[in-house]
């Protein structure tokens, strides 16, 4: 399956390598560099590269290429998904999966990689299990370890690995039992020049932070589950019950996790909460830029954290603009204009206008750049999805046999938060 892994930073240094079978020389990465040179941007490198003896499958995240080397037929998604899981684990452990984090924690990284794959086949990828095997670094533990000589490694097998709920460790105890659910919906849209919607689509996720003692069994039900069209679940969700009753019944992992991600049926009309009125024109040597943003269907909520970005054509030299609100920056190297608008005040619509200067001598670009929009709306799920109720049952003490069959109803703190934001929201100009 996965033979070796090389991590390559943006400068082209192979700064870490790990082999699960016999060692493959790092010169195999030359094929990758070759391919990389052909690409215009780091994202453009083809994720699957075939070389005479090896197959290189890579992902690009956190400015690092994670290049997996395979020697035989393997489903490419299998490798890609695994590599992403590796980076997710790093992010989970170190706060970010970037190069410096990996270098700072190379021992843990190595231990993690060792646990996650055995002979190229995934062994333990569940974050809860890994965290029991190898404890994440923190300052306190480092101090304690130096004093007591104890280690970051567990010497017993994590209970989760053997149970039929591998995602949850046993013996969790909290003094404050709490469960938070964030319903986050993203609007993907393409808006054309005239302001009409070419394509719009709502994707949602429910992220949870569950800190409950024992083995709680939760049931989450919705007021209107029918609007969920396509759903993918965390393995903890009981699929049968969803099929039958449209409720989410699950024994949650401990801590943060993504419970479901869903897609809202395309037959529902998608409310587009903002509009952008762009007016960009180029002529010989310069151009005009005039963009206005305004609220559209916001259901009475405030549109916040609006950011407008626009990748200008390469011939643009500089931009001289005045915003009525917020701040703007123009990166003359990457040619990216970023306008941080903030909140939209319906009374006084934010506007950014000014002049564009082009490289002298080069013809003005024929097409206008697309504008992508970021925004957030608190306390609203744009699809109208509403959580109905959350019920919990917990088996409190498994140790004392007398009590083991008394199911005790928790009195935890529970909260649901809704948030709508822009996903891939683009306006063509």
């Amino acid at each position: 399956m996965i033979h070796s892994l090389f991590m390559i930073n943006s400068a082209g240094d192979i700064f870490m390598e790990k082999h699960w079978k016999s060692v493959i020389s790092r010169s195999v990465c030359d094929y990758f560099f070759e391919e990389q040179q052909k690409a215009n941007s780091p994202e453009d490198v083809n994720p699957v590269i075939s070389t005479p003896h090896h197959y290189l499958i890579h992902i690009y995240r956190e400015n690092i290429y994670f290049v997996a080397v395979c020697t035989t037929e393997v489903p490419p998604l299998f490798v890609i998904e695994f590599l992403h899981r590796v980076v997710d684990t790093f992010t989970d452990y170190f706060g970010d999966g970037g190069e410096s984090a990996i270098k700072d924690n190379y021992v843990i990284v190595y231990e993690l990689l060792e646990e996650m794959l055995d002979n190229g086949f995934p062994l333990a990828t569940e974050s809860n299990i890994l965290k029991e095997l190898i404890k994440p670094p923190n300052i306190l533990r480092t101090v304690v370890n130096t004093v007591t000589g104890s280690s970051n490694l567990a010497d017993t097998l994590p209970t989760g690995q053997l149970s039929n709920v591998p995602w949850r460790r046993a013996g969790v105890k909290y003094t404050n039992n709490e469960a938070y659910f964030d319903v986050i919906e993203e609007i993907d849209a393409i808006i054309d020049k005239q302001g009409s919607t070419v394509f719009a689509d709502i994707q949602g996720v429910i992220d949870c932070c569950v800190k409950l003692s024992g083995m709680p069994d939760l049931t989450l039900s919705f007021m209107n589950p029918r609007i969920l069209d396509d759903v993918s679940f965390h393995p903890c969700v009981r699929f049968k019950r969803w099929e039958a009753e449209r409720v989410l019944s699950f024994v949650p992992p401990d801590g943060n996790f993504r419970l479901i991600s869903y897609h809202v049926g395309s037959q529902n009309m998608v409310a587009i909460p903002v509009y952008v009125k762009p007016n960009i024109s180029f002529r010989e040597g310069g151009g005009r830029f005039d963009v206005t943003v305004g609220p559209k269907q916001t259901m009475g909520k405030m549109v916040e954290s609006v950011v407008i970005t626009c990748a200008m054509p390469k011939v643009v030299l500089n931009m001289n603009l005045t915003p009525t609100q917020g701040t703007y920056t123009f990166d003359p190297v990457a040619k990216v204009l970023t306008w941080d608008v903030g909140k939209i005040n319906p009374q006084k619509l934010p506007n950014l206008r000014g002049n564009i200067s082009l490289q002298s001598g080069s013809p003005p670009p024929e097409s206008n750049p697309a504008i992508s929009v970021q925004f957030k709306i608190q306390q609203m799920a744009v699809s109208g999805l509403k959580v109905n109720r959350l019920d919990m049952y917990g088996e409190v003490s498994k140790s004392s046999p007398k009590k083991s069959f008394t199911f005790e109803k928790y009195k935890p703190f529970k909260g649901v938060k809704y948030l709508t934001k822009a996903g891939n929201f683009q306006v063509r100009t």
Binding site: D13, D118, S151, R258, P369
Partner: protein, 1067 residues
């Protein structure tokens, strides 16, 4: 290389400095060889010290070097010593180092082996597992035998985690020494039979790596794998699904061979039983009329599809893709559609995942039949400016494939926006896509052509050039009405510089010179002028143009043509020189001999077929979807192409696996050997029995017995002897028919030959068989396989056959054969829980209605498997309300249980109406004692103390085992664990039937087949602890019998002896 290393070292140094090691501060960079050596000395010192933290520090630095890819092999000796370190972190890091370098330092690596061998026996499963992992990862061929031993021990380890590790070790061992393959396959076979979800994924992985073609290993595990699939971890799921796809392609029929009929049949699939029985009948039919018959999906095929479907909802893209390819390759076309939604969902994921998914979707969309499923999601494939280039091109490809008459306008409008993009390659791809749409949908050809001509005036030369090329292709399809376009393009030749475009224009003008008779010679003139400065492909086309014009319009162009040919004669490119020479011979024959010259017109101006603009993904569907080979469009090493569906379905019965129930096998034998006319069948059966896989056949036949047993309890009681006899007759005839059927089946299939007759009854619905036997009794030949069911019912019922007498009629050789078989049977499944032989209907009083003030409660032992926990005895409570007013809130209150005992309550009964009664079930774990369970039954306002005292016989579960196992187990339970007594049995009850019936009434035990007359054996195990219970009743002369009870629980032993005595001596 150096800067990363520098940072490690710097960091290590600072850390080491803090531990107070003075030497370390002196080496800040570690960039030079001399420094490296010195540093290694430090490390060696640190490793040799007896402080754990120094060792740890050293190991961390070494691992840093390994991670950097630096050579740290000279430290091997120093490191390997620390493999015995007590500190687990040091140990782990040593393992990391060892696995990396052992291959290079084989001799030294051997030093560590003893440590691992010791660790393999460690009580901690994590240590056992990691020892096995490291041991198997050390690629040292010398230790192969040691690894093999360790592996064999580990596959039977208690801990599933260790077994999982063992599965992972198999491919490692195989790659080290391929000669071990046969042994390893045996190990895989064992692991495949594992029922733990943790293990099966890895077991299948090992199977795939070693022997993917050994489908025979999968047969028996097929259903289990399907059923476990949902609970297996994600990575295992991917491997299993891929394996099952291939399996399905070899074992099932193509569901799409007769699309129409298959669709009609779909209604049946909901009903498992019906389907099954039909399937068998259909099987029989197939023998007679193989070709034209309606397709019926194998239930196992359906099982696979049904069980994989929920996995489309997985969060893991690889799993979703695996299911999608499974559906694509083995599902009926009408069902494939549901994967589209899931695949489209993946497009929200990371860019790399998008790329892979899109290229698979692109392949799918080239297949006309399944294209429709993506049409509703057309807009999801719209290109976004933020997409990387490879994703964009794939999306374009898909949009083009999806274009239909209805959607083309949307797509073209979308393409229009793309054309204005600033990315040239993308624009070019878009123009090609437009061309393809135009060629595939004739309605829009005109529109597209106009659009493309519009693009000819684009400022961007690449756009124009690409448009020219595409227009050329389009015009070739319908050149008639487009002379103005050709004119327009001829003009472009002045300005456009992209060679490909120029070449296209020239070719077109030459080809359709009759439509632009004035322009063509002029164009040639201009080109001739500039001939030497053109690119090669343009030169070739100029030559072509010259030749064609020279043929059609020699008056004007003959000289020009000569000029061009002369220029070409001295060209640097030999292709051009060759072409010139060739053309010269054709168009201007030097002498008049030119036979070719006459045909020049035919040669040059033949009507040429229009190019087919096809998807570049057209040929990719030869690869298995989702595979690496598909991605790179070439065969990856280790790729095995999906086999085609077989023309005729292989025997579906090979997948049947059931719990062995040996006595049923005996009854089978008996009927087979009994009547004279059946002699030859029985012969055959014996033969096949002995030579083929005996375990399999015995288990299958016994299975039918067990099924019928549980199903037809009531019926068997009413069944008279006469009935039974006639049934038996029917049975023998049916066995004959089935036998003939199986023999008519292919000889090659001898392995399964003895099975078909026993197999199919399994799922046949009892009522149906009952009705069907009676009328068919006369017409022996027509008796269907299903009827066997009935016979087994009657012969094994009432309630059990005499196991001893079963063998009377068998020849001694066969008897010994059977004995041999049962010894071979010693697998994990040899002792297995079975359904109870007898379920008492009498209930005991729990709460009298006087005490309960009108509420009475009875309890009854149901002898089933408790729904709450396997260690609990299920008890059924029946509440009856003898008053007129309802009693509400009946529940269990305080429990005063003995230590260790647990009781699972029933859900509260809200209200029991007056005169009504209600049954609920509870589970009690008695912990294998006969201590009463005391608890309270509460109603709304009262509490009643009650207690349930289990009869000793109810603490057991019936289990089946082979006789050999029985004796083996018995020999282990002697001395204190054996209790015996004597009793005299009333002569009228001294027969096998009564004894067996009475025994099973007394305790929940199952009879064990006995080869000796007059010895009855029964086996059970305690519900809570799983302790084995063995009862032997030896009937001697003059109705006296000796009873032996073997059980680890001595109290139970003695009690049972007493009770058995009582029971058997009843008059």
């Amino acid at each position: 290389m150096s800067n990363g290393g520098g940072s490690y070292n710097a960091q290590n140094d600072s850390r080491a400095g803090s531990t107070g090691e003075p030497d370390l501060g002196t080496e800040p960079t570690g960039g030079f060889f001399s420094a490296d050596y010195k540093k290694h000395d430090d490390l060696k010192q640190m490793l040799d010290s007896n402080k754990d933290n120094l060792k740890l520090e050293a190991m961390k630095r070494i691992v840093g070097m390994v991670a950097k890819g630096k050579d740290a092999s000279d430290l091997f000796a120093a490191v390997v010593k620390n493999v015995v370190s007590k500190n687990i972190e040091v140990k782990k890091l040593v393992y990391v180092y060892l696995v990396r370098y052992a291959e290079e330092q084989q001799d030294l690596a051997l030093l560590s082996i003893a440590t691992f061998q010791r660790a393999l026996k460690d009580p901690n499963q994590l240590i056992r597992a990691s020892a096995l992992r490291v041991l198997s990862s050390i690629r040292v061929p010398v230790i192969v035998p040691i690894m093999m031993l360790a592996l064999k021990d580990s596959v039977v380890d208690m801990s599933p985690y260790v077994r999982k590790t063992a599965a992972h070790a198999i491919p490692k061992l195989y790659s080290l020494d391929p000669e071990q393959k046969d042994q390893l396959i045996q190990v895989i076979e064992k692991l495949l039979a594992d029922k733990t979800t943790l293990v099966v994924g890895s077991a299948v992985m090992a199977f795939e790596e070693l022997c993917p073609d050994r489908v025979d290993l999968i047969h028996k595990n097929y259903r289990k794998l399907c059923n476990l699939l949902v609970d297996v971890e994600e990575w295992g799921q991917v491997v299993i699904i891929n394996m099952l796809t291939r399996y399905a392609r070899t074992q099932f029929l193509d569901p799409n061979q007769q699309d129409v009929i298959a669709d009609e049949d779909k209604n049946f699939y909901g009903d498992e039983d019906e389907k099954d029985s039909e399937e068998e009948e259909e099987d029989e039919e197939k023998e007679k009329t193989p070709p034209k018959k309606p397709y019926m999906m194998d239930p196992d095929h359906r099982l696979l599809l049904r069980n994989t479907k929920p996995l489309l909802q997985s969060r893991n893209a690889a799993v979703v893709m695996a299911v999608a390819q499974l559906y694509h390759h083995i599902a009926p076309k009408s069902e494939v559609g549901l994967v589209a939604k899931a695949l489209v969902r993946l497009l929200r994921s990371h860019r790399e995942i998008q790329h892979v998914v899109l290229s698979n979707v692109a392949t799918l969309t080239t297949i006309r039949k399944v294209r429709g499923m993506f049409e509703p999601y057309l807009k999801s494939f719209f290109v976004r400016p933020s997409d990387p280039i490879h994703v964009r091109t794939l999306k374009l490809e898909i949009l083009t494939n999806l274009a239909t008459e209805t959607s083309i306008s949307t797509i073209l409008r979308e393409f229009q926006t793309y054309v204005t993009s600033s990315d040239k390659d993308f624009v070019a791809a878009t123009i090609q896509a437009i061309g393809r749409c135009a060629s595939s949908i004739s309605e829009v050809t005109e529109t597209c052509l106009n659009g493309l001509v519009g693009l000819l005036s684009n400022r961007n030369e690449y756009v124009v050039a690409e448009s020219v090329v595409v227009i050329k292709k389009l015009l070739q399809m319908q050149p008639d009405s487009h002379s103005e376009i050709i004119q327009h393009m001829a003009k472009l030749a002045d300005t456009i510089t992209v060679p490909m475009a120029r070449a296209s224009i020239l070719w077109m003008v030459g080809e359709y010179s009759d439509r632009v008779p004035k322009i063509a010679p002029d164009l040639l003139r201009k080109m001739a002028k500039n001939f030497i400065n053109e690119e090669d492909i343009v030169k070739l086309q100029i030559l072509n143009l010259a030749a064609k014009l020279c043929i059609t319009n020699p008056k004007q162009t003959k000289l020009l043509c000569q000029y061009v040919l002369n220029l070409a004669k001295y060209d640097q490119n030999y292709d051009i020189r060759d072409r010139a020479r060739f053309i010269r011979q054709l168009v201007s024959p030097a002498g008049e001999k030119g036979a070719l010259g006459k045909h020049a017109k035919k040669i040059f101006l033949a009507s040429k077929p229009a190019p087919v603009l096809d998807s570049s993904f057209k040929d990719r569907d030869q690869w298995q979807l989702g595979s690496l080979s598909h991605m790179i469009n070439q065969q990856a090493s280790g790729y095995s192409p999906l086999p085609d569906f077989p023309a005729a379905a292989p025997d579906p019965t090979v997948r049947n696996v059931e719990v062995p129930m040996p006595w049923a096998e005996k009854t089978h034998k008996k009927k087979a050997g009994k009547p004279k006319k059946e002699a030859f069948y029985s012969d055959e059966e014996e033969e096949s029995e002995s030579e083929s896989d005996s375990e399999e056949s015995s288990s299958s036949s016994s299975e039918s017995g067990s099924e019928s047993e549980s199903e037809d309890d009531s019926k068997s009681e009413s069944g008279s002897d006469k009935d039974k006899k006639s049934d038996e007759e029917a049975e023998s005839s049916s066995s004959s028919s089935s036998e003939s059927e199986s023999s008519s089946e292919s000889e090659s299939d001898s392995e399964s030959e003895s099975e078909p007759d026993t197999k199919p009854q399994k799922k046949a619905p009892p009522p149906k068989t009952k009705s069907s036997t009676k009328p068919k009794k006369e017409a022996k030949q027509e008796v269907s396989l299903l009827d066997l069911d009935d016979i087994d019912v009657s012969s094994t019922s009432a309630p059990v056959p005499a196991p001893a007498s079963a063998l009377d009629v068998l020849s001694p050789s066969l008897a010994s054969d059977l004995q041999g078989l049962s010894i071979n049977d010693k697998t994990d499944t040899a002792i297995s829980v079975t359904t109870p032989m007898f379920v008492s209907t009498t209930s005991h009083e729990l709460l009298h209605r006087m005490t309960g003030e009108g509420l009475s409660a009875n309890y009854r032992f149901t002898r089933g498997t408790c729904i709450y926990s396997t260690s609990m005895v299920p008890v059924e409570l029946t509440f009856t309300n003898h008053t007129d007013s309802p009693v509400s809130n009946i529940r269990i209150g305080d429990k005063k249980l003995q230590a260790g005992m647990t009781l699972q309550e029933f859900p509260e009964i809200p209200s029991l109406p007056g005169g009504g009664s209600m049954s609920v079930s509870i589970g009690i774990d008695f912990k294998d004692t006969i201590q009463p369970a005391n608890f309270q039954i509460c109603t709304q306002d009262r509490k009643y103390n009650v207690s349930i005292k289990p009869p000793v016989g109810e603490l057991f579960q019936a289990v089946t085992m082979a006789e050999a196992d029985f004796t083996a187990q018995q020999s282990k339970l002697t001395g204190m664990n054996e209790n015996s007594g004597k009793v005299s049995i009333p002569s009228q009850h001294n027969n096998s039937k009564t004894i067996t019936a009475r025994m099973s009434e007394l305790a929940n035990v199952a009879p064990v087949p006995s080869s000796q007359d007059g010895i009855y054996r029964f086996a059970g195990k305690t519900v809570s602890g799983g302790t084995l219970l063995l009862i032997t009743v030896k009937v001697g002369e003059d109705n006296s019998a000796s009873i032996t009870v073997n059980c680890e629980l001595m109290a139970i032993c003695s009690m049972l002896v007493k009770e058995v005595k009582q029971k058997l001596s009843l008059a």
